[in-house]
Amino acid sequence: MIEIEAGGVASTVQDDGRTGHYHIGVPPSGAMDSYAHALANHLVGNEESAATIEMTYQGITATFTEDAVIAVTGANMSPTIEGEPIGTWESVAVEAGDELDMGFATSGARAYLAVAGGLDVPEVMDSRSTYTLVGIGGHEGRGLEAGDELPVGATPTERPAVGATVPDEYVPEYADEETVRVVLGMNDHRLTAESRAELCSAEWTVTPEADRVGYRLDGPDVEFEERDQPFGAGTDPSNVVDLGYPVGSIQVPQKPIVLMQDAVTGGGYATVGTVISADRERLAQRQTHDSVYFEEVDVDTALDARETRAERLDAARAAVE
């Protein structure tokens, strides 16, 4: 059992996502940075599908009621056990009664705590991920608070030795990752030529509203070509007849919002591009006020990037020792 003493700003139980229900309006949820989530799990011998705690901007304070093996990855939040700093991207043994205390993120936005055995909260629609907008999954469908108790599953028998680390070359430097690649479409043709060009050249900044639902960005005004709105579309030039939103798609009510893991699955805003899957987790590590640049790529490049990212994760797993 893990007893939460302080929940941080926004800490939730997440796994690799609630897939298979998008068509009925259920977004995948799941870890925003699935690379860091997967490696935290790997370090403690868990499958990638095991549930971890995702902490945003500020970590949790929690006590372990039993001996455990843990790993903290993702954003650096200076974790300590009983006041002593512990390594990150590393498998660490803790004893019953030990207190884990995490600070605020100095680099990146989201950190992950994996425990050998995974967090054994009930599955909802085949996933332990928290979807707070609807209040399902994770721990009571909400962010963690003081007093919460999280059960831990059975410790895997085969796992990396305590002290095993992810080598530095596989640990992202979040501060440098300001460019994310996008495939333009479906509705980029609705933009003025100037706005279309600006989308992939302007400096965007992450606004304080950016969260698991969407990354709202600030930057130049985005203009749409005037037209007679078709039947079924709203009156604003940014409205279209309702369509499905890909995860990662960029909708533009006025300023761009990149739809993330907890986003609505469809609606009537033009989606002018989609952040490619390989780069969504990098966007998720941008902090409020950080810069973001979009770089246009084609679908083949996006698929190659997905493959490269998967190979990098496999290589990182293989290099853990």
């Binding site: 700003v9 901007y57 500020q58």
Partner: protein, 80 residues
């Protein structure tokens, strides 16, 4: 006693000195604060988080303006 300390931001976001736009500021320069007293709010991810004094003292200065964008660990309030 003139030893100066600062209250630092525990998270990035936007800093506010008032609990509500219509309300007076939490504290003014010259006010004394106890541990746990709110001195401001930080807005991030559509929520507001109270910034509490982590030690007692007298407010000597605000190091950021109302509605400034702040980063984690940035000094916000100077106490003496």
């Amino acid at each position: 006693m003139s030893e100066k300390t600062t209250i630092n931001a525990p998270m990035p976001g936007v800093f506010y000195r008032r609990p509500d736009p219509e309300d007076p500021p939490f504290v003014e320069v010259g006010d004394s604060v106890d541990v746990g007293d709110p001195v401001g709010l930080v807005e991030v991810m559509k929520n507001f988080h109270e910034i509490e004094a982590d030690h007692a003292g007298t407010v000597a200065a605000f190091l950021v303006e109302n509605e400034d964008e702040i980063t984690a660990d940035q000094p916000l309030v100077e106490l003496e």
